[in-house]
């Protein structure tokens, strides 16, 4: 197993501990809510996870499938996830 997925809408980030020797698939997009996440907030969460949990690899994802959202909302959430991922990559490459 290379990575473990965690629903961060339901899970306390403090419960993840630190110093992981595996990857973390962080469910940061809420697939049960129509409220759009802010890319800035997603970046903040990613940075926090990278600094504290320090997984071998960090993947940003949704906390469940997006079929429970209207298509237009799901598309917007995916766009914001991509935007956050790009910013995080920029930060990492600096």
């Amino acid at each position: 197993m290379d990575a473990i997925g965690v629903d961060l809408v339901q899970t306390d980030v403090k419960a993840l501990g630190s110093g992981w020797n595996k990857g973390l698939v962080a469910g940061v997009i809420n697939g049960r809510s129509s409220i759009l996440e802010s890319p800035k907030d997603l970046v903040d969460v990613a940075r926090h996870l990278a600094d504290t949990v320090a997984p071998r690899n960090l993947y940003l994802s949704s906390n469940c499938e997006l079929g429970y959202l209207p298509t237009v909302v799901a598309e917007q959430k995916v766009q914001r996830l991509g935007e956050a991922a790009r910013k995080v990559k920029e930060l990492v490459s600096v």
């Binding site: 961060l8 129509s34 409220i35 237009v72």
Partner: protein, 282 residues
Amino acid sequence: MKAYAGKPLDDKDLEEARTWGERLQVPEYERLLDLLRHAPFSKEQKAELQRWSSLYAVRLEESAGLDVVYDGEQQRTEMYDWAVSHANGFERRGSVRAFDNKYYSKAAVVGPISLGSPFHNAEFSYLTSVAEAELKIPVTGAYTIADWSFDERNRTPENLLQPAAERSRERKAARRDFVLEVARNLIRPNLEALITLGARWIQVDEPGRQPRRTSSISSSTASTPASRASTRCSRPTCASLITTCSFRRSSAWSTASSSRSASPITTAASWEHPTRRVRATR
């Protein structure tokens, strides 16, 4: 269904309508056959088809010997959509998955909730005019309306760095407010309108309720004169418990058996409670 959906009907369909009309002794069912031969149907003719559908369903239950009957929501779009369509404060958000490959049109609450117009009155009035047995009107409950809707009154997304327990408490508080507002401002005035029209049996359906301890189910039904609890899987992640609470608007509910029958227990299924009679209806 085929006629209402605009699908072509063949002789087999007409024969089925005739056979059931005859078998159930539906009054003047020949008029339905005549109507079915005149597709395509206008809006008014489709409404007439819905009323025929209600009549057939009621007659089916009456002919089976049930004392308390209903038409199976023949005139509603579906249990969620019908309620939300008659409410203020909601906006459509589009089709979402309910379970497996089943989808429904989900709405979001965006403002104060209120009743647009009573949404079971016309149905009840029609059924009253055709039913010989006592009527029971199912209504979708507040918990289900809230559970099947998005809540967009507070558009701030959760801060995932905040403790999960704190976020959970906030979600539950918001859900509670949502449910109570639906109950007070949408469901209650709609039920009052039904009661004013003379409805005596009202069944509140809550398929959106999540399974909990058995004791909580018992407590939710203990104060109702008649109740039914059944289970079926209706959600993708877990089997959901459908708790249905029926109540009669009568203080003398213990004499609730139909005057049309000499038997005190007259429905298709029934059982005895030590202190009171619980009757099962469809």
